[in-house]
């Protein structure tokens, strides 16, 4: 598998030379601003450098053009039919890994950690993508562990409440308080202080953002949600209802102390109407949690590695 390493300016010049459409799903689309900033001298210098390594050829009319191999690579990179991106919190300071496919050609694209150079590997087989991601997850999760699969159906409000409680729980853990119990007044205050807003980055759905803003404005919605969760035995009441705490099942699933990594897998199939699958997995030593945000509610499910592999990973990346 040949691997090409290009600087930011070189890749930008290659995009200029290729003259393909730049799909918004291409990871190279971020370079558009760099192209707009580049002056003619930089472009010509980069073109000359690329000419030295036979990436750029000169046509008879004096115009420069890409080598046919790199023309194909740029076609896949800029107009992909299928994009898979995988990254995780453990590797927060590294750029994400991208796999791109157009018809039967698959390439690998990754920026270096300082985002100054780019690595392009080609050609790949599509099956490699599944194996790559599987190995990344196996690095954290124990393959042998056997866990009963559990499932939680939550409404949007309950999901937002759970996010807030998790953040409050983390705060408590930082203060060496290990019990997941919260004063109701503190919960209301957390909404006042816009704690859930900090989760906006994970709020991929606009419905979720609306729910957060609604709950921040309407205090009664917070109390109603807490009541519902207590009725469903997700939360327990302490001190005559002035405090609530996690039930055992909830703590087993969501204990932040057990989280080893949180990873994100995005697959976009670019068709007439692009279909995007965005997943994030919370990785424990023995299990993997997956939250599916639907239109009206959220489904949180816990898998062991084998069932996760069969039910989620393989069907997603096949």
């Amino acid at each position: 598998m040949p691997v090409g390493v290009f600087t930011k300016d070189e890749l930008a010049t290659m995009i200029l030379l290729s003259r393909y459409d730049i799909s918004q799903f291409s990871p190279a689309a971020k370079l558009l601003r760099r192209i707009a900033e580049m002056d003619d001298k930089t472009i010509l210098n980069a073109a000359k450098n690329l000419h030295k390594v036979n990436v750029v050829w000169e046509r008879r009319n004096g115009e420069l053009d890409l080598h046919i191999v790199y023309s194909i690579v740029m076609k896949v990179l800029l107009e992909p039919e299928d994009v898979v991106t995988y990254t995780s919190v453990r590797n927060l300071f590294q750029s994400s890994m991208n796999f791109l496919r157009r018809s039967k050609t698959t390439i690998f694209f990754k920026a270096t950690d300082d985002y100054e150079s780019f690595i392009i590997g080609f050609p790949l087989e599509w099956g490699h993508v599944y194996e790559w991601v599987r190995d990344e997850i196996l690095d954290v999760v124990d393959e042998e562990a056997d866990v009963e699969s559990m499932e939680l159906e939550l409404s949007m409000e309950e999901y937002v409440m759970l996010l807030t409680l998790q953040s409050m729980f983390l705060d408590r853990l930082r203060k060496r308080k290990k019990t997941p119990r919260f004063k109701v007044t503190d919960i209301v205050k957390a909404f006042g202080d816009a704690v859930p807003i900090t989760y906006l980055t994970t709020a991929l759905k606009p419905e979720l953002l609306d729910t957060i803003l609604n709950m921040m404005k309407n205090e009664e919605l917070i109390y109603d949600t807490l009541d519902n969760m207590v009725e469903r035995d997700l939360l327990k009441i302490y001190r005559d209802g002035s405090e609530v705490g996690y039930s055992k099942e909830l703590l087993y699933m969501l204990d932040p102390r057990k989280i080893l990594d949180v990873s994100f897998l995005i697959r976009v199939a670019v068709e007439e109407e692009p279909k995007a699958i965005m997943m994030n997995f919370v990785l424990h030593r023995d299990k993997i949690l997956r939250a599916e945000v639907g239109d009206e509610g959220v489904n949180i499910k816990a898998y062991d590695f084998e069932s996760f592999d069969n039910e989620v990973l393989r069907p997603t990346l096949r």
């Binding site: 393909y20 601003r33 003619d40 472009i43 115009e63």
Partner: protein
């Protein structure tokens, strides 16, 4: 270069250190300071603690927050041990010395870092790239900074000591510390050897230490503990930090302009000048300071200044601040900011939409670009479209920056609110600790209990008072204030005071329980506690109620007595002033009323009026009851006769 820039830089430095220093190290050093402070010294002399003032600049030079915690730990230890030291100085005055020590703790690193920053921002000793370098210039600058910091800090301590030992007691109506008077200023009070060691060694070394930490030559404690020793980064250039700190978005500037503090203060001053309310308040405060002075015993035993009034005022201030923050701060400062934020959100959505359109146009133009060996051929509209695209990107970026600035501003106000609330909480905690300490001394000396026993009793009783008064803090504080103002320090005040009453009850329950556990017999425990009741140990209320019950018991044991009171010589005899059993009984009641509601010559007019009017009303009620009683017996006697 600007002085205000230095202050901004130092403020960020302190916050950064505060948030990154691990709590375990902070509390560990506070514990060390506590252990040093708990040792006693001659005359309770704070400066006489060995290895404290010398080491402090070294610790704070390394990390000012650690120095601060070290000083605070020392303060707690020293203040706890003060009542047991041989000094006549009121306890409170030692706080002044400790405040000076805290200033001394923070000044050396601030002066050192501030001076280095100032010199670098002037462009001196700069290595290429603007990075502060490990050179002789920066070392000397930081050493001079540390020296100045320690010098200024010692000046504060020297003056605070002089005030606490000589001037302060006189202001509070006591005498200056006789033992220390002869060796006051410029002699043993402030050990010259210690001063020179601290200034000439610890100051410069602390300053240099701070410089070495700032340029990464010595790793910072937070990084060390996070196991990141291997990945120590080169610190950012000071100039970059300066730019980051002094940059403020337009929105924040606008908002700041609207809420100019100086203007508000000026208006308040103008409006309250010559107001009758302010004058009355001033007069009242004068009176209060006079009263506080009366409580201080001039010489001999140590006696705390009465701080009840202060505690009650604190409760009002706390409640008042809650209302103020709800109706003024939230409405006037936070609401407009939040409105500005939601407004900004809409503008942000709009800008991203425009950016997408510009981006698509730019993509289309890009396809028409051709490159030759020495020439890039661009279509005519290229420059215009590219500029539009870049402008839209810049706009989105600036909106994000503004949003962050507004959020920072909101958090700043919320943090300030939290800080004030914390101040109230900690002051009330200090008052609580002082109550516990003073009661501990009383139980230890008067009741002869062991230190542990006295502490447990003192803590539990005071805690009971705190918890009960917390139910309605404002209500209880009002009762206490009215009581204190109206009845001064008369016996009536002691009876009416709710905290006194609660403390008495708690003490009673504690003693009864303790004796029960020890003797395992109710009668034995009761007989011990009964003695204390009649002594008035559990407050006057329980004493009078108990004596009333005892008298009732006498009547119950001998029904003849009761009958004699009931059967009297009738109304006419009563009006003539003939003394019979009923007359004796009511005379007893009148006597008790006079005992309780007595006032001294010195008492305030308010007290005299309040006590007098209550006394008159109670006498009137007793007379009315006697009249009714005698009328009834006259009528029954007439029927019978």
């Amino acid at each position: 270069m600007s002085i205000s820039g230095v202050f901004g830089y130092l403020r960020n430095y302190i916050w950064n250190e505060f948030y990154t220093t691990p709590p375990l190290v902070r509390y560990g050093l506070a514990g060390l300071g506590f252990i040093l402070g708990i040792g006693t010294t001659r005359y309770g002399h704070v400066g006489a603690h060995p290895y404290f003032l010398e080491v402090l600049p070294l610790i704070s030079g390394y990390n000012p927050i650690l120095g601060l915690y070290y000083a605070l730990g020392f303060m707690v230890g020293d203040m706890i041990v003060k009542p047991f030291e041989s000094t006549t100085i009121p306890w409170v005055l030692f706080f002044i010395i400790h405040i000076a020590i805290i200033i001394y703790a923070v000044l050396p690193p601030l002066f050192s870092r501030g001076l280095v920053y100032l010199v670098y921002s002037m462009g001196l000793f700069k290595r290429d790239g603007g990075l502060p370098a490990l050179n002789i210039g920066s070392l000397i600058t930081s050493a001079i900074g540390g020296l100045i910091g320690v010098g200024v800090g010692l000046w504060f301590i020297d003056n605070a000591m002089h005030y606490a030992y000589i001037d302060g007691p006189q202001v509070l109506g006591s005498y200056p510390d006789e033992a220390c008077l002869s060796i006051a200023r410029n002699s043993d009070m402030f050990n010259p050897a210690r001063v020179s060691t601290a200034t000439l060694f610890s100051g410069p070394v602390g300053g240099i230490l701070n410089n070495l930490v700032s340029i990464g030559f010595i790793p910072n404690v937070s990084r060390l503990l996070k196991g990141e020793v291997s990945r120590l980064e080169v610190p950012r250039s000071l100039e970059k930090q300066l730019k980051k700190m002094t940059k403020e978005s337009k929105v924040v500037k606008e908002i700041k302009g609207k809420v100019s503090q100086a203007k508000a203060v000026k208006t308040i001053k103008e409006k309250t000048a010559g107001s009758p309310i302010v004058d009355t308040l001033k007069g009242y405060l004068d009176k209060v300071s006079e009263t506080v002075g009366e409580f201080v015993v001039p010489s001999g035993d140590w006696q705390p200044v009465n701080l009840n009034l202060f505690g009650n005022l604190l409760t009002f201030a706390d409640e008042g601040f809650d209302l103020f923050s709800k109706y003024v701060i939230d409405k006037k400062y936070i609401d407009p900011l939040e409105k500005a934020f939601s407004n900004l959100l809409n503008r942000y959505y709009e800008a991203t939409y425009m950016m997408d359109i510009a981006k698509n146009d730019y993509k289309d133009v890009l396809k028409k670009v051709k490159i030759k060996w020495n020439l890039v051929i661009k279509p005519k509209e290229y420059t215009k479209v590219a500029k539009r695209y870049m402008d839209s990107v810049r706009k989105v970026k600036s909106l994000v920056r503004e949003g962050r600035a507004i959020h920072r501003e909101i958090m700043k106000i919320k943090r300030a609110k939290g800080f004030v609330k914390g101040l109230f909480r900690w002051t009330s905690n200090i008052l609580f600790a002082r109550d516990v300490a003073s009661d501990l001394a009383v139980y230890r000396v008067d009741d002869g209990e062991s230190i542990l026993g006295a502490f447990t009793k003192s803590f539990l009783t005071n805690y009971a008072v705190k918890r009960v008064t917390d139910f309605n803090s404002v209500g209880f504080a009002t009762m206490e204030m009215v009581n204190e103002v109206a009845f001064d320090n008369s016996e009536a005040a002691e009876i009416i005071s709710p905290t006194n009453f609660i403390k008495g009850e708690a003490k009673f329950v504690y003693d009864l329980g303790e004796n029960l556990l020890r003797d395992r017999s109710l009668s034995k425990a009761w007989s011990k506690v009964r003695k204390n009741i009649s002594k008035g140990d559990y407050g006057k209320v329980i004493k009078y109620v108990y004596s009333g019950f005892e008298e009732l018991g006498e009547y119950a044991r001998d029904p003849r007595l009761f009958r004699e009171v009931l059967e009297n010589k009738g109304l006419s005899a009563g009006l003539e002033g003939v003394e019979d059993k009923a007359g004796e009984f009511y005379d007893g009641v009148h006597k008790r009323i006079d005992e309780v509601f007595k006032v001294s010559e010195k008492s305030w007019k308010v007290t005299k009026f309040a006590a007098g009017s209550v006394r008159t009303v109670l006498h009137g009620w007793t007379n009315l009851i006697e009249l009714g009683h005698r009328t009834l017996t006259s009528i029954t006697g007439w029927f019978r006769g």
